[in-house]
């Protein structure tokens, strides 16, 4: 009995020691990465923008980016984005197509490709800065009179010095959309989503695809290199390389750029 008691006491000590050593808040936290929203890490030739807000367009001027980084190679061009709210207040104007178009989407069944127009109300036109090249809103992209072509390149290193390849590309300008720029989600449970009626570039917007179902939505990113021809005839290259923040927020875009090419 004495031996048994001694063994038991020893075991109890081991147990208590283990208990004391064991963190009450868990172990092996080193398995995980610690995200930091404040420290956005970009490299030269890269832009970052949190475009997750349903109610904002974010604008940038590629010429200003080029000028700023040429003057100071350490300059972070991500600070050059400017943001403007999407107008959602109803106005009285029978002659405008600017406004909010509500569509029903079959989000619990066949998906977004099955949709029906339900209602429209006019709003003020989308405000924008004086000079800009592209604007982003979640998975949508628009341009300032530019045209965009998709290439077979998957890396900027594949872009030839000789620009003759550009002649074989098919450029597409912005086109009208009233069912893709989701800006109002207050009746989403019924499959009803308010869209901004606005010109968007559907080629460049194809870099990030959203699917519903599933719920929550599934995102698919394509690493296509796009060539953009600005309205002044200059060319640039754009590529989406990440669409998530460090904490996983979707539509936080990391964009590789080269301008001019």
């Amino acid at each position: 009995m004495t031996t048994a008691l001694r063994s038991y006491t020893t075991w109890l000590h081991i147990l208590l020691a283990t208990l004391a050593l064991q963190s009450c808040t868990g172990i092996l936290s080193g398995v995980y990465d610690e995200p930091s929203e404040d420290e956005v890490i970009t490299v030269a030739g890269q832009l970052y923008i949190d475009a997750s807000d349903w109610g904002k367009w974010h604008y940038i001027d590629l010429q200003q980016v080029a000028d700023s980084t040429a003057a100071n190679p350490d300059f972070n061009p991500s600070g050059l984005w400017t943001s403007f709210d999407i107008p959602v207040k109803e106005i009285t104007d029978d002659n405008t197509r600017d406004g909010i178009y509500t569509y029903w989407y079959d989000v619990f069944g066949s998906g977004l490709s099955v949709n029906e127009f339900r209602s429209f109300y006019p709003t003020a036109p989308q405000p924008q800065p004086q000079k800009w090249s592209i604007a982003v809103h979640r998975n949508n992209v628009r341009t300032n009179g530019a045209a965009v072509a998709a290439t077979d390149f998957r890396n900027f290193d594949e872009i030839p010095q000789d620009k003759s390849y550009i002649n074989s590309l098919v450029f597409q300008k912005d086109t009208w959309s009233e069912s893709e720029v989701w800006c109002e989600q207050s009746r989403m449970l019924l499959g009803l989503i308010g869209n901004q009626g606005i010109m968007i570039n559907k080629v460049l917007s194809s870099w990030l695809k959203v699917d519903l179902p599933p719920i929550p939505p599934a995102f698919t990113m394509y690493d296509t290199v796009f060539i953009i021809r600005l309205d002044d005839g200059s060319y640039g290259a754009l590529q989406l390389v990440n669409y998530q923040s460090q904490t996983g927020t979707k539509c936080c875009l990391t964009i590789n750029y080269r301008y001019p090419i």
């Binding site: 009450c24 398995v31 009746r187």
Partner: protein
């Protein structure tokens, strides 16, 4: 199909009449094998199944083997009527057992809770079937012994302990959608040390499913694949007779690619130490410590970052003392201390913690040959909200003859609000914001159940009935908007008005000496829909239990040519349709509700195995035998897109 099964059952039993008369004694002993199994869950002390005063359903290792189930979900659905695994939002697995969900039925592994939850359910993938010895199911409130969350019952998974000096087992299995499973089991034991190392890896592809047009409610379009790794080691040291130490450690990882470049990862680290000291024939003491940590993270392949968004950590210590007197009466005294830590990016201010301390006492009184009575009471204290509860339980077994048992029980159940239910703050993709309520009352229940067991020669018959009255059930209430935020819907956790769940089961089973066995079970569940305290139908995020369900099984085992052992079995289940009350427009509740009907279905499985020299086993199975495909893949539709042929091979060397 059910009629076909009954016909087969009658034919089988008729065909074996001569066999019964020739070897009746053998037949009785076959059934006695189950009745003489030791169960521990009902009274927290070892009792023979036939003697335990608490009605216990036992799934033995033989049943597990012949079921050909590859996971706990398949096994419980095949063996227990009234069990349904369906989907909740975001394709998270939801468990329903006779009207009780994941928060109402306590899942244990070797008596220890599984921490972590997603939409109220534990991660069932953590239960590694290759290491399971048996499963004990106790229906009815068991809070008097197991505390919070045991309102609807307890399912205790008991793992294997090595019986032979050494054993090496390996298995592989392949099925539809590249479903691959590998298992490894290594065991060693000598007089002092026994060790079991078991590992399991499985994977299955994501696949699409297609519903007909115009579903009545939401449907699933894609069944997500997964990769799962489960490793567990258990070391038992017996320095001398009467003293036993058990140490265990486990690691679990499941990866689900809901978004292809950002798979969700679910990890669990568990460990424990237990000392069991048989001080004398009368006095036994058990002290244990358990650690369990369940984490969720998103692995963002693009950035290479694995970011954790959920961690639930539980440290618990327990002591149980049993005193058995010369008549066999058992006094059990025990207590637990549990420290619960939750760090969830979706709760207010990040991390929360809670401590729970309890003491319990139970007396198992064998009055005479016919009567046995068990009374138990437990006092719990929870630091969060300064909540304390006393829960009593009383059970009685009456045996009017050697082959008949009548059991009756009353138990009070309770469940404290989880940290999530108190502090959640989750914007669900803009649809609504789910909010916790710190002032929630604990859920209480009164459970009455009774059962009648009768067994004779090759047959056994069991009928059970239960009634639960549930007070202050915790669930999300109706969506509403706040004055300061009129465009946003909110869902708040609330206490619901009292409601009832009642039902019963009937099981008939036959075993014959010629290797045939058959089982037919039916369950009736009557769940009165819970309403909120204003009398409105609730926004039930889970589909209710199906009223009627039935499971059936027919197996034949034959040994021939000395070295060959063959088993052929067919099993199936039927679940009746169920109607759920759902709001037409969650933004305008005055538009009223609609009844959404979820259809009935039946699924059957044919399996066969051939074992050579008790070492090498080839298994062939055809799941979804009749190629059933749901018209609509609702959340509670079976997750099948047609017949699934599976082939498996296992090697066991002792």
């Amino acid at each position: 199909m059910i009629q076909c099964f009954l016909l087969a059952l009658i034919t089988a039993s008729s065909a074996t009449v001569s066999g019964v008369s020739e070897s009746a004694v053998d037949s009785i002993s076959e059934y006695d094998e189950v009745l003489n199994e030791v169960v521990v869950t009902g009274v927290r002390a070892p009792k023979l199944l036939k003697n335990t005063p608490v009605q216990t359903t036992l799934i033995t290792s033989k049943m597990i083997e012949r079921s050909d189930a590859t996971d706990i979900e398949d096994l419980l659905q095949e063996e227990i009527p009234g069990v349904e695994f369906s989907y909740a939002m975001n394709q998270q697995v939801h468990f329903n057992f006779g009207g009780f969900g994941g928060q109402g039925v306590l899942f244990l592994v070797d008596g220890e809770r599984l921490v972590g939850e997603t939409l109220d359910d534990v991660d069932f993938g953590r239960i590694n079937m290759s290491g399971v010895d048996r499963i004990e199911i106790v229906r009815g409130a068991s809070s008097a012994l197991y505390g919070s969350n045991a309102v609807g019952g307890v399912i205790n998974v008991i793992t294997k302990i090595p019986e032979k000096k050494w054993h090496v087992g390996a298995d592989i299995r392949y099925g539809r959608h590249n479903n691959l499973r590998y298992g490894l089991n290594l065991q060693y034991r000598n007089k002092i040390v026994a060790n079991t190392l078991s590992g399991n890896y499985s994977r299955i592809d994501t696949y699409d499913v297609h519903s007909a047009a115009d579903p009545a409610t939401r449907v699933i379009t894609q069944i997500y694949g997964n990769r799962t790794l489960n490793v567990r080691d258990q070391l038992v040291v017996t320095p001398f007779e009467g003293l036993k130490f058990t140490a265990r450690a486990g690691y679990y990882l499941r990866e689900i690619p809901r978004i292809v470049d950002t798979p969700e990862r679910y990890r669990d680290y568990s460990g424990g130490l237990k000392g069991q000291w048989d001080i004398s024939d009368k006095h036994k003491l058990e002290v244990s410590y358990a650690f369990d940590q369940y984490d969720k993270s998103n692995y963002m392949k693009i950035s290479g970052m694995d970011v954790r968004n959920y961690s639930n950590v539980q440290n618990s210590i327990r002591a149980i003392y049993n005193y058995t007197d010369s008549r066999g009466d058992i006094l059990t005294l025990g207590g637990d201390y549990r420290y619960d830590y939750l760090n969830n990016t979706k709760i207010d201010n990040g991390a929360k913690h809670e401590a729970n301390a309890d003491v319990f006492a139970q007396y198992d009184w064998i009055i005479d040959d016919k009567w046995e009575l068990v009374g138990a009471a437990r006092y719990d204290y929870f630091s969060k909200g300064d909540v304390s509860r006393v829960t009593p339980k009383i059970s009685a077994r009456y045996r009017p003859s050697y082959n008949t048992n009548v059991r009756m029980a009353y138990g009070m159940g309770f469940r404290t609000p989880t940290l999530k239910e108190q502090y959640y703050n989750f914007d669900m993709a803009g649809i609504w914001i789910v909010e916790g309520t710190p002032s929630l009352k604990p859920e209480m229940s009164h459970n009455f159940n009774g059962s009648f067991d009768w067994w004779y020669r090759n047959y056994s018959f069991t009928v059970t009935a239960y009634y639960n009255h549930i007070i202050d059930r915790i669930a999300t209430g109706l969506p509403y908007s706040k004055v300061e935020d009129p465009m946003q819907l909110y869902l708040k956790y609330v206490n619901l008005a009292p409601y009832d769940i009642m039902g019963g089961e009937a099981t008939v089973e036959g075993r014959w000496s010629n290797g045939l066995s058959a089982k037919l079970s039916y369950a009736l569940t009557h769940e009165v829909f819970a309403k909120d305290k204003d009398g409105n139908p609730t926004n039930n995020q889970y589909i209710p239990a199906r009223k009627h369900s039935l499971t059936a099984r027919l197996d034949w085992n034959k040994t021939f040519a000395k070295d060959f052992d063959m088993t052929i079995g067919v099993n199936g289940r039927y679940l009746s349709g169920v109607t759920n009350i759902e709001y037409k427009d969650y933004y305008d509740l005055s538009a009223g509700t609609i009844d959404v009907r979820y259809p009935a279905y039946t699924l059957w499985k044919l399996s066969g195995s051939l074992m050579f020299r008790n070492r090498y086993k080839l298994t062939l199975a055809l799941d979804n035998l009749f190629n059933y495909k749901p018209k609509y893949y609702y959340l509670n539709a079976p997750l099948t897109d047609g017949a699934n042929f599976m082939v498996g091979l296992s090697v066991n060397i002792d």
